[in-house]
Amino acid sequence: MELLQNLLGTEAGLAVWTLLKILAIVAPLMIGVAYLTLAERKVIGYMQIRIGPNRVGPKGLLQPMADGLKLLLKEIILPTRSSKGLFLIAPVLSIMPALAAWAVIPFTDSLVLANIDASLLFIMAITSMGVYGVIVAGWAGNSKYSFLGALRSSAQIVSYEISMGFALVGVLMVSGSLNLVDIVNQQGHGIGGGSALSWNWLPLFPLFLVYLISGVAETNRAPFDVAEGESEIVAGFHVEYSGMAFAVFFLAEYANMILVSALTAIMFMGGWLSPFPASWGALGASGVIWLLVKMSLVLFMFLWFRATFPRYRYDQIMRLGWKIFIPLSLVWVLVLGAWMMSPLSLWN
């Protein structure tokens, strides 16, 4: 960094250094997205006693590259009487929040692009922008099917955002901070000297469940994928898209999955902290590897859900969001407040 600042001057050097850091986050993220698609096909394949893709490269490892190349070479078709500008900007609107949220995600207590105080709020604000990509894509295509898909999908995203927000209220109550680094560090104290038992998932178990399930609904994944209920409305809001424009929506969905899994790991599963007590030597040491392990665990559950559960009916999804999750998380926030004020409090 000092080298760059000497070469380019203070401000330009800082800008280039920050751009390099952004690249160091986004490039592995994109590779992760590519291989998550392969992992999904492989995992679901084995769960259904199939092999999954195994033709391109050794064991099918180059399959994502082949898929990407295929989509790149396809033509992007603009529907007649569509709103052209909006039609092309919608995929960008949809992937932008999925990438921008990574600005404040901490990988260890020092490895974070922007360690700001309101990082939890920043994440909630940025991810709430994601719904615009869906709405604009559905409307701009000038197609009834994509519009219906967009209405379904955005209504679902908006509803589950509320219960997700309330689940996070519980987290910020016990950690007394909106800073993600502080939230993880707070989980390192308590029972077992900062082992898996002291993390937020245990005392906040109902909120953990609400957050995890809302996360699945928020990313429009099965069993909440009515947005693309193939049997009812073709493929949902992106039915008019082809080629790379479609691929960007696809990338955004998987980037969102990785983001939600990272957030679940940070808020409830101790982030980069080791699940073993600190006295266990190398096993007890915290590090970015633990964060990756926890994220993989949550991502595997996402894939597992898709292979296991049948799709929810639309009214059942809305009922679960509004009539079960929101009251549940509200009541648990009250219980938590009383718990923290009582002598039994774990967070002093």
């Binding site: 105080d117 604000a125 709430s128 955002e161």
Partner: protein
């Protein structure tokens, strides 16, 4: 020109263009999306003023929630744009007068010596590690506790009223009780009837036997 000044002018340009397009856009959906852009850019201005909590709250509340529902309504309405633009010149004199009065009022206020815009100073410098969020929370829950709670009660009343208005019984409501659906057993829906595949034709069978004999 410092980096902050460049960002300020870029944001201001985008904000002005977006605000102008909100009024002039032909399609109401485009207008609503320009309004979203205007909100987002305004929150960028607040970030420049180091009011990060307000900036993020603006995005969270207006961009993330209010405007989404607004867009929903605008998209679902089947608006005939040609019809809306009829009579534009007919109403222009009245609208122009109102606009002129508003501009005149604003110029009067901003240019008056009492406003003292020239004497307006930048706020006191804040420490680099000062937490905007912590300070706002402390102020809201100590100094301004009563107004804050009053605002919360007003919002709650509005929310209860909105729910109350929609909660009336409707004849064409297709509400299904999920608990009843879950409790349903096979016997409630299906009646098993034992039907014999072939009619018992004892007489004809005995006839055939006789013929063979």
């Amino acid at each position: 020109m410092s980096f902050q000044a460049v960002v300020f002018y870029v944001l201001s340009l985008v904000l002005i263009v977006a605000a102008f397009r909100v009024v002039t856009a032909k399609n109401p959906v485009h207008a609503a999306l320009y309004l979203v852009l205007a909100f987002f850019t305004a929150s960028g201005h607040w970030l420049l003023l180091q009011a990060e909590f307000l900036a993020i709250a603006l995005v969270l509340v207006y961009v993330g929630a209010v405007m989404v529902l607004f867009l929903f309504v605008v998209m679902m309405l089947d608006i005939n744009i040609e019809k809306l633009r009829e009579g534009f010149w007919q109403h222009f004199p009245l609208a122009g007068t109102v606009a002129l009065v508003m501009v005149a009022e604003m110029v009067l206020i901003l240019s008056s010596p009492e406003a003292n815009l020239a004497g307006f100073q930048a706020g006191p410098a804040v420490a680099a590690d000062a937490s905007n969020v912590r300070e706002l929370g402390r102020q809201l829950y100590t100094v301004y506790l009563l107004p804050f709670e009053a605002a919360a009660v007003v919002l709650l009343v509005a929310m209860v009223a909105a729910i109350g208005i929609t909660m009336r019984k409707r004849a064409d409501s297709k509400y299904i009780n999920p608990a009843e659906q879950v409790r349903v057993r096979r016997n409630d829906r299906v009646r098993m009837v034992q039907v014999q595949a072939v009619k018992p034709e004892a007489d004809s069978a005995s006839d055939i036997n006789e013929q063979q004999a």
